[in-house]
């Protein structure tokens, strides 16, 4: 898995709340394989009109934010469907970090598995940050995961991140390796559990 330690990049404001995974990646693209560039249909129905023409008022379409690697969004970002492809779409579009007051639980778990940082900032800080990057896109944002700090110019914010995710991102850990190192424990649990809960295995239909 890819590590995330530090990042300095342009940030794009997306002032909307409840940007659920249906908005991030509409369901009709869920058939696409991982090798397809899902980034080109990120936020498709918000980004483009019914004829596929870009809407100029959508921030990611504006020249100043086209290369953004960071999104500053409203609360409950990534709620709804468990589709991990929503994370693939963000990732393929070059987004490495989303800052918001809160996130959907499943989305947050999917994000970390793909090296995407989910940074939680209080609503007032997010509003201030969004206003600042809306007024001046040039000045980049710096994110330091070790310090849990976001800085822009001489303003610094401290963000919250789930410690499990932080650990995993900083180390680039793959769950599977860690699980593998617990193989014996799993075997012992399974043997004990089959005695304790014999009814838990499916009966033969």
């Amino acid at each position: 898995m890819e590590k995330f330690v530090r990042l300095t990049a342009t940030a794009c404001p997306l002032a909307l709340s409840n940007l659920n995974t249906d908005q991030i990646l509409p369901a009709r693209y869920l058939k696409w394989p991982r090798s397809a560039n899902l980034g080109r249909v990120l936020f498709q129905d918000l980004r483009c009109d019914a004829d596929g023409k870009e809407r100029s008022d959508f921030p990611l379409n504006q020249p100043a934010y086209r290369e953004a690697k960071i999104l500053v969004a409203g609360r409950n970002f990534g709620g709804g469907s468990s589709r991990e492809a929503a994370v693939y779409a963000l990732y393929d579009a070059g987004i490495s970090c989303v800052i918001a007051p809160s996130f959907g639980d499943i989305f947050a778990q999917n994000a970390v598995k793909n090296g995407l940082l989910i940074a939680v900032l209080p609503e007032a800080d997010v509003a201030e940050l969004a206003a600042a990057i809306s007024a001046d896109a040039e000045l980049p944002l710096s994110i330091d995961l070790e310090q849990q700090a976001i800085s822009r110019g001489n303003r610094t914010y401290t963000f919250a991140v789930d410690p499990v995710s932080r650990n995993q991102l900083l180390n680039g850990w793959d769950d599977i390796d860690l699980t593998e190192s617990n193989r014996d424990r799993i075997g012992a649990f399974q043997a004990e559990d089959q005695k304790r809960r014999p009814w838990a295995v499916p009966a033969k239909a």
Partner: protein, 470 residues
């Protein structure tokens, strides 16, 4: 004496294999359900060069992409055919039992699991689908996961998770006739908000919850995710045991009795503490519909469309304007004056036999003023409904009776609501574009969808039930 424990704590500790320093626990997975969307996970597993760990604990269902019409013939759309075929190939290669397209047990994964007796109290159940919370209705710990986690479960039958906070939602009292589990669910979501239960496992308790049938409890737990909850659950009781008993994959005979004894301990102990408590009174809940683009935009049917001009919070006012614009609604309009273009009855929220009976009770002897589709939750539900003559009632009302699948809930099989059309729907998400690009969705119970159908506009089902058995 031991600390009193919640149901969530008991289920969590009985599945914990080990715990990491940062507090993540490695959990044992009792059941893993997969559907067509699992192809990313199988690709990941192959990329790791590994094989499935426990094929006997994994069950596949074709539901998301299956056609609801013309079954028995080849699937016309090659991309959709490939999705269904891909699942079959992966299941076969990994020796997974599959309830595939032509299996008489096929249906929506969250209907089929319980129907087959695979979903049981005390189990930890995962599926790459957010509505896996449905299975919590049995007193199981059930939650949705993403593709990387699906791959991890395939390879190890375990999952690393951080323990959620515990939230209890207590609903006491008796719900009025015409008010069902969907109304209770929407009332809860309206109260706590679409992200109100984020980071929490919800236990539903109280007399109005224990009075619910298993179908009702499944509807309720299904919607936990729409309040942002990690999972939702109801402690198992006699209602649960009698539903489970005799189902194909459930324990039987002495094993069943032994299981019931173990399941009886799956309750929150007196004095157990929750991180958060919420309570509602069932008697005050009216039939509810959603008017906007998130599930917490829910109001009683006798209310009016909210007015952004009356909103003091500018962010909220802006949201309201956008939502009304997308939904094509004017502020202040009575909800019962909103004309609809079509109806849909289906989805893992409301497509079980009881849901179909509730809709039929309203539709019997009446005609729908708009076109509509009814997709039963499983092929077994379909046959049962036909034995009960419900299909006749639906057809006589002018509605289409189709085969089982996710259908118009998510639209990826081709069953979509056209852009700009307004649909009264028993589904779970009124997100922009959920039922198709530009589609306008109003969520409600099956009885309320039936009421909207016969009225041609959103309507209160209660007067339509006068003199009938709901």
């Amino acid at each position: 004496m031991n600390e009193p424990q919640t149901l969530v704590d008991k289920l969590w500790s009985s599945h914990t294999i080990t715990q990491r320093e940062d507090d993540a626990a490695l959990l044992w997975v009792d059941r893993h359900y997969i559907h067509e969307g699992s192809f990313h996970a199988f690709s990941q597993m192959k990329a790791y060069g590994r094989a499935i760990a426990e094929p006997g604990l994994t069950f596949g269902v074709a539901d998301h992409y299956v056609p609801t019409r013309g079954r028995g013939h080849a699937i016309a759309n090659p991309e959709i055919a490939a999705m269904v075929h891909n699942l079959e190939t992966n299941a076969t290669q990994s020796h997974i039992t599959l309830f595939g397209l032509d299996d008489p047990r096929q249906g929506i994964v969250h209907v089929v699991g319980p129907e087959q007796g695979l979903t049981l109290p005390g189990l930890l159940i995962v599926c790459g689908d957010s509505h896996t919370s449905t299975h919590g209705a049995f007193g199981a710990y059930a939650f949705g996961i993403g593709a990387s986690e699906v791959a991890h479960v395939l390879m190890t039958q375990t999952l690393w998770q951080k323990k959620p906070k515990r939230m209890r939602v207590t609903v006491d009292g008796q719900a009025a006739v015409g008010v069902g589990a969907k109304d209770i669910a929407l009332a809860i979501i309206a109260q706590v908000g679409a992200d109100g239960a984020q980071g929490h496992a919800i236990e539903f308790a109280g007399s109005a919850i224990t009075a619910l049938t298993m179908e009702g409890r499944m509807t309720l737990c299904n919607m936990s995710i729409e309040a942002g909850g990690r999972c939702g659950m109801v402690a198992p009781d006699a209602t649960t045991y009698s539903y489970v008993k005799g189902r194909p994959y459930a324990p039987s005979g002495a094993a069943f009795d032994q299981a019931v004894e173990a399941w009886s301990a799956l309750v929150s102990d007196d004095g157990a503490s929750f991180d958060r408590e919420v309570s509602l009174h069932a008697a005050t809940i009216a039939p509810i519909i959603t008017w906007g683009t998130t599930p917490d935009d829910a109001l009683p049917i006798d209310a009016r469309v909210p007015d952004p001009a009356r909103e003091t919070d500018p962010v909220r006012a802006e949201y309201l304007r956008n939502a009304l614009d997308y939904m094509g609604l004017t502020a202040g309009k009575k909800l019962t004056e909103i004309a609809i273009d079509r109806i849909f009855i289906g989805s893992c929220t409301n497509s079980r036999i009881e849901d179909l009976r509730a809709a039929a009770a309203v539709l019997a002897g009446r005609v729908s003023k708009v076109p509509g589709l009814i997709s039963p939750g499983s092929s077994i539900v379909k046959r049962q409904a036909e034995e009960e003559g419900l299909d006749r009632i639906f057809r006589d009302a002018g509605l289409e009776w189709a085969d089982s699948g996710c259908s118009m809930c998510v639209g990826i099989n081709g069953d979509i609501v056209a852009s700009g059309e307004r649909c009264a729907s028993t589904t779970n998400r009124n997100f922009r574009g959920r039922q198709g690009p530009g589609a306008r969705t109003h969520l409600m119970s099956p009885a309320m969808v039936a009421a909207a159908a016969v009225s041609g506009h959103l309507a209160d089902v209660r007067p339509l039930l006068a003199g009938r058995t709901p």
